[in-house]
Amino acid sequence: MTAIETTAPGTSRARPSFYLKYMVEPYLYLSPAIVLIALVMLVPLAIGISYAFQSVNLLRPFQTGWVGFENFQTLWSDRKFWLALTNTFWWTLGSIFFQFFLGLGLALLLNTQFHGKRLVQALVFLPWAVPTFLSALTWAWLFNPTIGPLPHWLAAVGILSEPFNILGDPNLAMWGPVTANVWFGIPFFAITLLAALQSIPGELYEAAEIDGATVWQSFTKITLPFLAPMIAITVMLRTIWIANFADLIFVMTGGGPANSTQILSTYIFTTAFRKLDFGYASAIAVALLGLLLLYAVILLVLRRKLVKI
């Protein structure tokens, strides 16, 4: 008679060698990824945070060392920082608003039947594939009255008094990068929302129609509730992504004129790249990171309060 093997709860029943193999094997596949991410992203991240509390300026190589919260004190009284913070808010809000609604419209259109659908789909998604530096340059050129038509068109419909470059006007400049960003970002929302739309069972719409629902009713009672989770997650992630997104503004205006388009991420980059003041750049970056974390936490708490699942 053989005794039934029993093991204490929590320990494995499998042979030790097998168990070890099963626990270790996934890490064999993962190790290159983990090592690279740790070396190229996590270690520099830790160093970057530590820079925020140091004086690291390549132009003044002999004044290095720990300075405590000095960088943050400078930041607090830095008028440019607060301006950049306000600009970040408007840049993100403006971009996400138009990207989302235009993207939703496009997704709804692409979810219907029409002639030449495959071609249309390829063409409207194309801006997503255009390299960002090129989108930025192209839009900057479009806003240039010498070679671009936009100032002339805007003047013709009476939005501008005369055809001038709005990228040079502190009051209007932010619209330039926002337009480019909307152009570039519509495909992202359209694609993700289209995927969600296609997962809604068609019978629901048939049932609604038989019950006499209008198009608007089936949109608000079926489509929107089904899309809501996808909308919540994409808008949240996209907001963070746009707030971090410096390329367009850096290429189009470099933050100017008079810092009217300077957002936090471009401010970080110009401080590090042009002034080589790594300590101060890292302090701004830590502030931005803190704000984004705060935003994420608020959203998660709200979600828990509002969504009762």
Partner: protein
């Protein structure tokens, strides 16, 4: 949803108008880029804002290719993007396979770390990376760019590859393993051939991402020999800001590889953007 409904002619017209608006908005800037690129220099100031130029020329392309360094920039960018795409895809395929097929201690932590790396401001590490790269003597080298881009793209590529592996039934490799394959053999002989389209799509996504990266390249490269296309184009723009035709011809050239890869990965866009979710 309008499949069942009798649509009024007005609604149909409206729909096609809306579609035309979207197509026009998407294509117009690219059309303008190509238009200025083929406009002869002499005509730019007289009819720069006309919809169609009265004469065409390929002179600008010839100048850009033969008289400037753009061919070298193009080659550098190609090396960086292809290198990044190839290495990232290999590493991410292995990692994605681990996520898809194993349930192991620490998995949640690794996934969480990967997600977080997609969300913090990447610019935060631009200064430390510059210092590290300078310390190991790799400034102005394409190798440093390949390593940095590879690390940046691994998390997204891993999630993408995981979604492809998830689509392949586990039974297939289990059958192989019962028949005496080791797991690695099963992976190589059964799973990899099935996931070739997935590998191709990942390659395409990473190529496009690496092709358009600008800020880290600006920081890490300042010698003319190793400039990537974005850095070269930006330098050119700030130096010769009135050579409109040439700048735009260079822009059109930068667009070509992206468009080719876009055609290639178009079918996988939905999967790519929903599994990555955070990637632009």
């Amino acid at each position: 949803m309008s499949a069942l409904r009798q649509s009024s002619p007005l609604a149909v017209t409206g729909k096609y108008l809306a579609l035309a608006f979207y197509v026009g908005f998407a294509l117009f800037p690219l059309y303008w880029l190509a238009k200025i690129a083929v406009t002869p220099d002499k005509l730019i100031f007289t009819e720069g804002t006309a919809l169609i130029p009265s004469r065409f020329t390929f002179e600008n392309f010839r100048t850009v290719l033969l008289a400037t360094d753009f061919l070298a920039y193009f080659r550098n960018s190609l090396i960086v993007s292809l290198g990044t795409a190839a290495i990232t895809t290999c590493i991410a395929a292995a990692a994605g396979y681990a996520f898809s097929r194993f349930d192991f201690r620490g998995k949640r932590l690794v996934v969480a770390v990967m997600l977080i790396t997609q969300m913090f401001p990447l610019l935060m590490i631009i200064a430390p990376i510059y210092k590290i790269v300078a310390a190991v003597g790799l400034l102005n080298s394409l190798t440093s760019l390949i390593i940095v881009y590879t690390a940046f793209n691994i998390p997204f590529a891993t999630f993408l590859m995981q979604s492809f592996f998830d689509g392949i039934p586990k039974d297939l490799e289990e059958a192989g393993m019962i028949d005496g394959c080791t797991r690695f053999q099963a992976l190589r002989k059964i799973i990899l051939p099935l996931t070739l389209p997935g590998l191709g799509a990942t390659l395409g996504f990473i190529f496009t991402a690496a092709w358009s990266e600008l800020l880290f390249a600006l920081m890490l490269i300042n010698s003319n020999d190793t400039m990537t296309f974005p850095v070269g184009l930006l330098t050119f723009v700030s130096k010769f800001s009135v050579d409109w035709g040439q700048m735009m011809a260079a822009g059109v050239l930068a667009l070509v590889p992206s468009c080719l890869f876009f055609l290639f990965i178009q079918r996988y866009l939905v999967q790519g953007l929903t599994s990555g979710a955070v990637k632009g």
